[in-house]
Symmetry: C2
């Protein structure tokens, strides 16, 4: 129950008793939350397509139907990503001429946000899908994140346009024919450099990049914490100061712990309001499975923003404008 | 001139005057270094195949021919990776029944080393190539790095065997039929967890993973350093201690800087002796383009080790033993 803004109306979809008891625990008494019962819940470990067949009336399906019917403007889920993609595509449907939906994740490693698309909706991409991802994420960066004329990079193994596998080569050719602010191929080392605002890759590569980054960042924060603790212990041993060594140590430690908290946020995409599933006819935000209340609140805010700005209308227009391109290939 | 072990004989291949003047600068007087002249040098920015055609008698080609002719046991290069792969494959040739050479990089994020193959030699992999990469890197981990029964993981977007693109699915099936210690699919988050000793992926994905990790690690070390400096400044402001605040700060700072240096090494693969190009008929070690003398020394040591252990004989035997497998698919 993260959101208490009076101008937003929330439907909480799930097993009714569970949702109601959580509301009670949170001491909720307002009237802008409505509980909608679902008969089933798709678990994180479930195989998405399988689960959708077996578990009729699951919470994600019920929530998507609220959007489909127009009762709700957007759906936010921190559940099974594959199920979100399947329900988003099947129940909400794709926007006209959009071939595949893609998940766009936002990082903020430096002063500007970086959007990576696709991070796992589509592991069998064609060049046309990647082109559409670039168009959609570019609009998202401009309209929702406020980036003027976003630079779009294609994730590849080298900067020269002839580099990479056949998908990358074909996609590079397609992008060069667009009016997008195309920066050409970029390498892995540029993902976190902030040179590009939008990074396009197929969902297989994007998912691996996302999770490698998550794993490495965690590992490094751990290593850093150990380093800090050892340095502080080393200092305590070396300090033959007349004052108690406990005091300054405690302070350095505390200050560093605060800084580390901030560091973790910089590379934690759950801070940035979840990841929209771009290309579906409705707003669907996929939040990280281990989102806390703050992350869910951010995701709800992002969903509200995307609806307010009517991003999908812009996407449909732009995709239509570009759709002649594929015939020229 | 990194190596001064009397039992190793080095050929330094390059533009003769440049090499000789470097030797003079280093004050070299021993007799276990021989300078071999090359007419050309392939630059880092050169397109590999193009450059090999244009620049006949380049240093990497001359060096590979020393191995081919039996005068040298191994070649170490910190030059153009694509050129190394092309020369390794064309000049040294592949081991019997090996389909593609693969670059194996070693990280040590935790107590055990992790080998990732392929990080860029082959961006158009087939399942059979990935299988052979697993076999070769498994032998490398066992024989050269001393890992008993290395656990081999296939980098994918989910752990279930039916996950991923068609290449990943087919490769998973192939691996399950081997006697390798196959851990199944692993996700990006597991690359640095140390759960697997060998991680197999196609060169497109592997190159991006390698470079994303490099970029993220650097970015995080920068962020850590800023965090440390800010914490120390904050401490200096807050410390109303009677002792001079300069002293303890300087010490904490110094200790932390030392720790950060160690941190960088943990994720810097140049520390681990460069990356062997596995599958070629000879020993070729590709070092990072910005290797320092220590990294080159490590690479020379690794090359020497691979020759001494006769790793290629083991690889040829094992590949032959597995070669019946592809016919059963």
């Amino acid at each position: 129950v993260a959101q208490r803004h009076a101008d937003v109306r929330l439907f909480l979809v799930g097993r009714e008793e569970a949702v109601r008891s959580e509301l009670q625990v949170a001491g909720w008494a307002g009237d802008n939350i409505e509980v909608v019962a679902a008969e089933a819940v798709i678990d994180m470990g479930d195989s998405p397509i399988d689960a959708l067949r077996r578990k009729k009336g699951s919470s994600i399906e019920v929530a998507a139907r609220l959007v489909k019917s127009g009762r709700a403007d957007a759906v936010v889920s921190a559940g099974n990503t594959g199920a979100c993609v399947a329900v988003g595509t099947l129940c909400l449907g794709l926007l006209p001429e959009v071939r595949r939906a893609g998940i766009a994740v936002t990082f903020q490693p430096g002063p500007r946000p970086v959007v990576v698309i696709d991070v796992g909706a589509n592991v069998a991409c064609k060049a046309e899908h990647l082109l559409q991802y670039g168009i959609m994420a570019s609009l998202y960066a401009r309209e929702v994140l406020g980036v003027e004329s976003p630079r779009v990079g294609l994730l590849n193994v080298g900067e020269e346009s002839e580099k990479g596998n056949s998908l990358a080569k074909m996609t590079n050719t397609l992008f060069q024919r667009t009016a997008l602010n195309f920066a050409g191929n970029i390498e892995g080392v540029d993902v976190f450099s902030g040179d590009c605002d939008v990074i396009v890759c197929d969902g297989f590569v994007g998912n691996i990049v996302l999770k490698v980054s998550e794993g490495l960042a965690e590992r490094m924060v751990d290593l850093f914490q150990t380093a800090v603790e050892q340095a502080i212990k080393g200092l305590a041993r070396k300090l033959a100061s007349p004052a108690s060594p406990e005091e300054p140590d405690g302070r350095v430690g505390g200050l560093l712990r605060d800084s580390l908290g901030g560091l973790r946020e910089k590379i934690d995409y759950s801070e940035y309001g979840g990841a929209p599933l771009l290309g579906v006819n409705g707003v669907m935000i996929i939040a990280h499975g281990r989102s806390d209340s703050k992350a869910i609140a951010n995701a709800i805010r992002a969903a509200w923003r995307m609806s307010e700005l009517n991003l999908n209308r812009h996407i449909a227009e732009e995709i239509r404008a570009f759709s002649g391109l594929k015939e020229t290939i």
